[in-house]
């Protein structure tokens, strides 16, 4: 049985880094997948098991090519990239496969959607990931991860050099039921140099109901970027719409130069 599996593995050109693992029994690999000391070793064992249990699926995920989105972003959305086998193989590909930089965002998203990225692996992958879009895609996993891991990971992401990643961290935080526990990250994001981060911070104030950051949201109403003003306005509406209507800044926004912001302000004031 093992010989057959190894032959199949070889025939499907499994990546060479699996050679050592291929000699181990399934029982050993199962055990390693659960209890090896590092997430990398646990993941390696899962990859070997994936190739052993479903070599065709694993090969498709290992070798599959992207399709281009309408705006020329490489995407891996075929069913070949879905399911637990594909998930672990895609992560392996990201770790070792010499993936072109411009593929990494799409490949990471596919791995996340396939459920291949364990929460415990996010931080490690995140630290080694060179592409901001890929780092942002990884953060999605933290939206449903256990609180300690997730909140620590999002705090680390808020230190990222990329505004896109910082904004995504706040978006993910805002979608978590326990996100209010890191209101400090929201407050920090509200004065970020990147307007997307400031907008995400305003959104988080509203979504998480951070009443203590009322004044921060009021400050967002005068942001030079329309998206930030919009999110600040909506945050105040979510926190306390009656109080928001009484603000002179909100009343003035009925004439905001941005038509969408002005429209939302008028609708709020008309209530």
């Amino acid at each position: 049985m093992l010989i057959t599996a190894l032959l199949t593995l070889a025939a499907l050109a499994a990546p060479p880094h699996l050679d050592a693992l291929s000699a181990r029994s399934t029982v050993e690999l199962d055990r390693a997948a659960l209890s090896a000391p590092t997430w990398q070793e646990r993941h390696d064992a899962r990859v070997a098991l994936a190739w052993r249990s479903a070599p065709d699926e694993a090969a498709l995920a290992w070798e599959g090519q992207p399709v281009l989105s309408r705006t020329m972003v490489p995407l891996f959305t075929s069913p070949d990239f879905h399911g637990p086998v594909a998930g672990v193989v895609l992560v392996d590909r990201l770790r070792r496969g010499g993936v072109p930089q411009h593929w990494r965002g799409g490949l990471t998203q596919a791995a996340v959607l396939a459920g291949g990225v364990e929460a415990e692996a996010v931080i490690g992958l995140f630290r080694d990931e060179p592409v901001p879009e890929a780092r942002a895609a990884l953060l999605d996993v933290l939206g449903k991860a256990e609180p300690g891991l997730a909140l620590a990971g999002l705090a680390e992401a808020m230190e990222d050099e990329s505004g896109r990643v910082r904004a995504t961290a706040l978006q993910v935080l805002a979608g978590r039921a326990d996100g209010a526990a890191r209101a400090d990250l929201v407050l920090r994001g509200s004065s970020d140099s990147d307007y997307e981060v400031r907008a995400a911070a305003m959104q988080a104030i509203g979504w998480l109901g951070l009443a203590d950051l009322w004044d921060t949201a009021v400050g967002g109403l005068s942001d030079p970027e329309a998206r930030v003003r919009m999110k600040a306005l909506r945050a105040l509406e979510r926190l306390d719409s009656a109080r928001a209507v009484s603000l002179t800044q909100v009343q003035a926004m009925a004439q905001d130069p941005d038509k969408s912001v002005a429209s939302v302000a008028r609708r709020l004031l008309a209530r």
Binding site: R70, T71, H82, A137, A174, K259, S260, V264
Partner: protein, 522 residues
């Protein structure tokens, strides 16, 4: 005829005896033509640049009365002479370098031909009839020379043929193509995508338009700057660039997604604050500083008959107006059409009412939702959709109401859900295939609507089990026939839908020189 009456006719007469009334009739006439932008002789030079008009059927004609023995006619080109020419038969008579010429009689009447290089050119032709025995003119007449505006098509115009890119083999779009073929038969053309760099986004690359004048008509293909230099669909399928069709482009350089023509649409004819727009109004999306290229916007604004306006697409990943709004003919509505617009609250209601355990085999690989329950339990998804509706879709509806003179009765809200895509900075893409992104094809008395299949069901083949399909079919106006197209892998998963991957040539109608003069503040 008294001198006063002759003056009233616009003819300045310096002699007591009457002159030929044919000359008098010319005064004040408008010679209306079209821009000679095609390549009738297929020499790969635009006909205006060719400087020869033999056999060219795109010039406006002006018949001159006969000149008698001893008479001469002085002709002067005025106004925009850089973009207009006057030909005598096949000889160039007047242009920017030769503003004046004289013809001598006798002759039996001659034919002038007027050529334009662009849309909405306004020039003039002054005629002065003289006689060798007279010091002053016998008669004078001033004519306007005018070229047609470019007019974009809208969804109420009859379809002539439909087109999409055909991607055969494994992973191709054969189901999508088959849907069009089943609905339209010979009126559908599928072109091999392999010849065009696997570019399936034919809506984004081209926009059809027309220019018409009395007795003249030219189909126009606007070629987007999204791909240039013959790359991808920029190498247009031959049928689109056949003789008699002009392929034109505006702008150069790096494009944004807002330059794609999924982001340029036209409403049906509307009346706004008492002003009728018989050809509808053009609209496009703006994303902050990003909008269609300034050259294109300037050109479209200068046409005047479809006075454009802007929507806010800053919330969308791709950022096209066709992602959330469309128009359908509706014989039962006051205006003859309805506007369909996405409504995420209806979308959420829809999934909330479905059985949570409903498996969604299509959604797993593309969106990470294997069941309806996983969607409904996603709090972030709910919040995202609530915000999109309140912050951007409703304000855009307000703009449409204001700019098109619509009220709530003209608007049909359809269920929709979007998701924030991390590869796109958290901006929105359709989660359920966007049914607003349909292709509308009026054909005779029926209208065929080619709509993205939402696949909000477990069994691909059982359309009757899909609640989204049921709702949409109930909302369709009478006479509209739904054709559900599987656009999932080639289009939806790649951030577009049916409309993005198809295009429609439509039959022009109307006479702008009669019904749209009030829109031209010349």
């Amino acid at each position: 005829m008294s001198p006063l009456l002759m003056l009233a006719l616009g003819l300045a007469c310096y002699r007591e005896e009457p002159v030929d009334s044919d000359w008098a009739a010319l005064d004040g006439q408008a010679v209306i033509g079209i821009a000679n932008l095609d390549d009738d002789d297929e020499n790969e030079v635009m006909d205006w640049e060719d400087l020869q008009v033999a056999g060219d059927d795109d010039l406006a004609s002006l018949s001159l009365p006969a000149l008698l023995e001893g008479q001469s006619l002085s002709l002067t080109l005025t106004g925009d002479a850089e973009r207009s020419r006057v030909w005598l038969d096949d000889e160039l008579l007047l242009d920017a370098s030769t503003l004046q010429a004289t013809l001598s009689g006798p002759d039996s009447g001659r034919e002038l031909r007027v050529e334009f290089s662009d849309f909405r050119v306004l020039a003039g032709l002054e005629l002065s009839l003289g006689h060798e025995d007279e010091d002053g003119p016998l008669a004078q007449a001033a004519l306007s020379l005018e070229s047609a505006p470019l007019i974009l098509n809208h969804h109420l115009q009859q379809g002539e043929y439909e087109m999409a890119m055909e991607y055969t083999g494994f992973g191709g779009n054969s189901a999508f193509i088959r849907g069009f073929e089943d609905g339209l038969g010979d009126a559908f053309d599928g072109w091999k995508v392999a010849s065009y760099g696997y570019d399936v986004w034919i809506q984004d690359e081209i926009e059809f338009a027309t220019q018409t004048a009395p007795g003249l008509h030219m189909d126009l293909v606007l070629d987007s700057i999204r791909s240039q230099n013959g790359q991808y669909l920029d190498a247009l399928p031959p049928k689109l660039a056949e003789p008699g069709v002009a392929v034109i482009g505006y702008g150069q350089g790096r494009s944004s997604s807002q330059d794609y023509f999924g982001n340029l649409e036209v409403s049906p004819p509307v009346t706004v604050d008492g002003v009728h727009y018989p050809y509808g109004r053009a609209y496009w999306g703006r994303n902050g500083t990003l909008a269609p290229h300034e050259d294109l916007r300037t050109m479209l604004e200068s046409q005047q008959v479809q006075r454009p306006f802007e929507l806010d697409v800053s919330w969308l990943c791709v950022g096209h107006v066709d992602e959330f709004i469309t128009f359908l003919p509706d014989p039962d509505s006051d205006k003859g059409f309805v506007m369909w617009v996405t409504d995420t609250a209806l979308g959420w209601d829809l999934i909330s009412e479905m059985a949570p355990e409903t498996e969604l085999p299509r959604y797993g690989p593309t969106h990470g939702f294997d069941t309806i329950g996983q969607m409904v339990e996603d709090d972030e998804l709910l919040l995202v959709n609530q915000d999109l509706q309140a912050e951007y879709i409703e304000p855009n509806i307000e703009i449409m109401k204001q700019e098109l003179g619509l009220d709530d009765a003209d608007i049909v809200r359809i269920p929709a859900l979007f998701e924030a895509n991390r590869l796109c900075g958290g901006y929105s893409l359709s989660l359920i295939p966007g049914t607003a992104n349909m292709t509308v094809y009026p054909s005779g008395d029926t209208v065929k609507a080619f709509i993205p299949d939402p696949f909000l069901r477990t069994d691909d083949d059982d359309l009757s089990s899909d609640p989204m399909i049921t709702i949409i079919e109930d909302l369709l106006p009478s006479g509209v026939e739904a054709h559900w197209l599987d656009d999932w892998s080639t289009y939806h998963a790649a951030w577009g839908e049916v409309h993005c991957g198809s295009n429609t040539r439509r039959t022009p109608g109307g006479s702008w020189w009669e019904d749209a003069r009030h829109l031209m503040g010349d």
